[in-house]
Symmetry: D3
Subunit: 280 residues, 6 copies
């Protein structure tokens, strides 16, 4: 059952740009959107529309006639609440509300481990633990998950919330457990789209790492089977890593550096994330 129309938000972002090609093949029409002026060459069936997530009037027309929205647009770092409010909170509301008004069946959302980042890593957390956000960034993910659950229970609009752990190069010991490879990201988004019925579902976005610290059992019916494993990097990473401090909250908690940084202050610098996306 090929989809007629898909909408991808955050299409200019690091993860969004990787999703454009595979998504373009799953539908007749892919509408990619972001706040950039331009996202380069387009794939077959793809169309780019610049739009601001925080503005309902810019978002609503895009979703008209769409089967599903793949919602990856957001500020992807910790910033003060006032800056987060528009794109990450109101933006989510706009996607769901516009989707509801136009009969969109499902939203596939880039949630994050930071919705539950304050749990210690010695707890193998499932997808049904109460929220413990580590930042305003994580708080926006909590908000959106709760919003998505409500739209399902009140309006039968489905959503899958992908709590991505770390979709970036493996450059530190934490990533040996938290890594999500680009290929596995695509696998995960694919099953979130092709599973016939999902209701409201949360799934952790993590590769088949030996050290993966989270539990996707409740989302088993999705059939997500990651193929990559960060253990290939373990020997080198561990050899080079400085000795860890077990009393450091950023080492002990699922959220990693987000768990230890002050609220509202950028964490990305300290995580060694490199923009390694392929050029289209």
């Amino acid at each position: 059952m090929k989809l007629k129309k898909l909408v991808l938000t955050g299409a200019a972002g690091r993860l969004g740009s990787y999703l454009r090609e595979p998504l373009s093949k799953m539908c007749d029409e892919l509408v990619s959107t972001d706040i950039a002026d331009d996202i380069g060459n387009l794939y077959d069936g793809e169309r780019y529309v610049k739009a601001d997530l925080a503005k309902f009037d810019e978002i609503e027309p895009l979703v008209e006639g769409a089967d599903m929205v793949v919602h990856f647009g957001a500020i992807v770092d910790e910033v003060p609440f006032e800056e987060m409010l528009g794109p990450n909170f109101i933006g989510s509301y706009n996607i769901w509300e516009a989707g509801h008004r136009h009969g969109v069946r499902r939203v596939v959302y880039a949630s994050s481990i930071h919705a539950v980042g304050m749990y210690p890593k010695t707890e193998f957390i499932g997808t049904d633990v109460p929220h413990r956000p580590d930042t305003f960034y994580g708080l926006a993910k909590c908000f959106t998950e709760d919003l998505g659950r409500m739209y399902w229970e009140k309006r039968q609009m489905e959503s899958v919330h992908l709590r991505i752990l770390s979709a970036a190069q493996v450059t530190n010991p934490r990533a040996l457990g938290s890594w999500l490879s680009y290929d596995d990201l695509v696998r995960l988004v694919r099953v979130a789209i092709d599973t016939p019925v999902v209701g409201f579902t949360i799934a952790y976005g993590v590769s088949a790492n030996d050290r993966a610290p989270v539990d996707n059992a409740l989302a088993s019916f999705l059939g997500y089977r990651p193929q990559d494993n960060a253990e290939q990097f373990a020997e080198q990473i561990l050899a080079e890593a400085p000795q860890a401090d077990p009393t450091d909250i950023g080492t002990m908690c699922h959220g990693g550096p987000f768990a230890s940084i002050p609220l509202g202050q950028s964490a990305v610098g300290s995580m060694g994330i490199v923009d390694d996306r392929k050029k289209t």
Copy 2:
């Protein structure tokens, strides 16, 4: 240990106006605030300041020097998200952030059953179940609980979240289980203030009703012991009630009418809430 300064938001509201007198006796100075121009005669030690929760600059000065904030200010009905955003979402952020900047120790917050209103009543829910909001109103409660947990875990600012079931006259069968009497409300707020250490705690606000459908076990250390029991009204209420429809979500779920109304549409009318507060 009498407190020096308390701040009460929502002081002109139905519940807030009942709290003014007892709170004024628990501290040297009570700063009551709301968006009304006036709240009538003041109690000893009470001062009224009109302020808009959605405006950080109006809220911040109020909390300076306060030990705790009793945060009951909010829109107390279902309205569209755009209207809820300022007072119920941003307002909560403003209270916590202003509190943090001024060293406030604790917030006592009027949360609501509507944060978990979509659970069926045949589940005796504890305070640690994942959120299932029934309205935008409930979603704002979810947001604030998660925010409060984060400020505790990241900044050691305490909070107690009182998930009030229904603090209104008992006029229907649901209220036989959900009633919170004014006296029990005062009892609950009192222990939320006088318990030496609370960290982040959630407690249901409900009287000692025979039919109370929620579980406060995890908040046992607070020592909240309600004294009133809606069973006194059961015979009359049940005799007069029309036959219930077990397939109606508003009858089956904890959220009652909020669980069945459309999102964004007022529920208060259908709940028979009467403004029965004493005039000060």
Copy 3:
């Protein structure tokens, strides 16, 4: 909301005969039934019809027009499966099926601790533990509970399953925990009837005994509050009791003597149950 018509099965039995009077006051018409030829003087509004539970054709006409059925009819001792089959298995099916065909809203059923009698008493079991029957008698209760759940989930016909522990005189140490007084039995049946919506609910039938070994938390919304307490008999009972053997399964398990007797063999004799019902 007074009921129009109630049906009571097992009206000639020990518990059924106690329920006749209070039930007769809760409805305009009480149809009492049993396999006895006669149950003595009738209460206002009561009518007696002899019928065999195992025969659909005898049961069906009785429930026509009834709001609810209070189903206490059954063999109340352990007997071989072949004897149990008619009244306790097929009888339950007949009640639910006939009820469904005639629009009966709810069945209030005399289930039993023997549906879970093999749990050790050192486990404080809730109403949601998987079945562990101790006898064919208990197996019929498991069957009926599962049947009731199915009729609720497939056909929206409600039921409350009262897992009675021991509604008999307190003559041994086990009964200090398991006693259900007649007055508390009436209280329990009353709330099972007057609660507006129950869906499928299980509740243990036990008085407010200090030593009550079971947990009714999940049925809290029913508001069952027993008033009697077998502890009044404790001193005498314990003084006279022989020393117990902790390796005896009948002492250690919730089912008591039913847990230790051979399947299919009468247990009542060993339990000291005396027919102490009031004569009507």
Copy 4:
């Protein structure tokens, strides 16, 4: 430890006929039984006896001297309760009771997902969840599981209850999760027989499907490791499937079409089950 004698019921059925050959190799003597007059050519060591499960006198002689019974005989579709009673309820009792009288060590039973078919698929259910049958067919499975537990706890007669999801060709999206291949069925029956001690154990009968929605953790000690995976059919099945309706109970629940059909009405037609068994 090769077994001396095995009994297979339902030997003429779709699954039973697949089991005859492998079972015949695990014992000196295989007694196959069914209500058919004939089951074709026999395997080495196999003997066929026509018998009616509902008749104790026909069943009892078969099990004399048997080590174990592999009990697959039953009506394998939804029918009215009155028709289900003999083969599926009384038949199970007859197997266990006759087995007990003749010292049979263990029954391996074809239970079914329909014992818990009303759970939503978004719950990854274990083998210890309370029953939620979706049909009279499922109710008979609940009955037999409870019976088997009781015979273990009271009489130390072991049993393994294989809750088969769908042992049929993969022709629809549900089967991508629920498929049990014939080879995996044989693997499952084999470990249910060769595990030295099983007590009372429940295990889901499902292949190693990526989308398998159930959890066999509690039966880990059996060592059942399925090898087949319905994901091989996913691309084609999903491409051809009509759009699913998330509010349809038959799509959302484990029981699939059994969850949505009316009680007592055949479901097999709607499931596309084809009799694809090999001819012996």
Copy 5:
């Protein structure tokens, strides 16, 4: 069933000396023991024998012929492991081993909250949580509970482990939740003795305090119903208490000061325990 012989260890201690009189009335012969030379006037039926718990040869003769041992003897403060080893570890072994050799039916043991003292008070802990000792003192309680469980499971020797919270005057906010009055201590010991069968059971020793932070549900069958409530002291205690620090582990954890003191260092001084026992 009056007991023939009881043994009380720690008879000269603060709690032990309160138990002598009530225990002397529950048996024909009470053998009290401690390491003191003398415990003053004896009650009817009481005999005092000086003995060192750490010496098997001194303990063994005392328990000969005893029905039960009430084992309260131990160092009741934190000391270095080397000093704890004899009385608190080896002493427990000696009691159980000597008891086993002489057919003692049951040990009633003074365990302690300090076996689980590192749990935060915001968790309402049951009796089945894994151990989290806060001191060597607590570690000895863990050891004895595990020992007692093993003697039950291997040798069918029963024991009840009373995890006493704080049986001392209420002089600080923690005690508002943790107080066990002397009368409630006697009630608890009484049911631990008179309950016919206990197997291996753990129960928290705490009064009916509004703020009691622990859960005795699993020991419900014991019928322990405390009557005292520290809330009577709350107003004064809270008025006088200094402001608490929520980041202090000794305030946040069940173990109180034991949770924050260094291992091996006395905690009693900081707890304000006064020897207030009545003189016999």
Copy 6:
């Protein structure tokens, strides 16, 4: 991050002697210790020191300057408590206390399934179940795990407790589930050492056996991925095994023969453990 100094206790034992070579390669200096006079040829960087675990003065100097201790020294059979006390109880205390005094970061400890050996095998137990020791041997493991947790929570000294099931040749049906191959033992010890932060962690030591009856989910972040599978021996072992008795506690429980032997009496003989270690 290569370690500077490791200490291995029990270096002359069956498992310890297998660990010497791999450990010697993970550090600059390996100090091996045991009570044997000599352990044969030494590996590069290895030094042997004879020492008695029960004597603090002999142990303390060894750990000075060590990063971690791999603590495998102990009596590895059931013996009377008095004999177990020195090496298995006091020995553990000595390792942790000496480690603490010298700033050792972590202990990797050979715990055992016998700490929880009385659980029935039909329960798939996790690492967070309460202790149920089957022997004094298991009781010492319980003691050490609780000790290790306390040193982490009070003194931030880390430990990993490897609950080894059976690291011996596969000679009986139980071992099909419980086998830990030497290679998997090395894998497990390696991740217990190289994981940057472990806090207090328990992990079962078992190979990737199809029939493995325990759950390491909570230790997932360690990334232990065993490679061996005892199923290769299943056909032969099961063919030769005598018929098992399901009522035998030693067959039904995780502890195997330890669960059924009398306390204090050697179990090793009955387990067919052969000293098959390689000669260095």
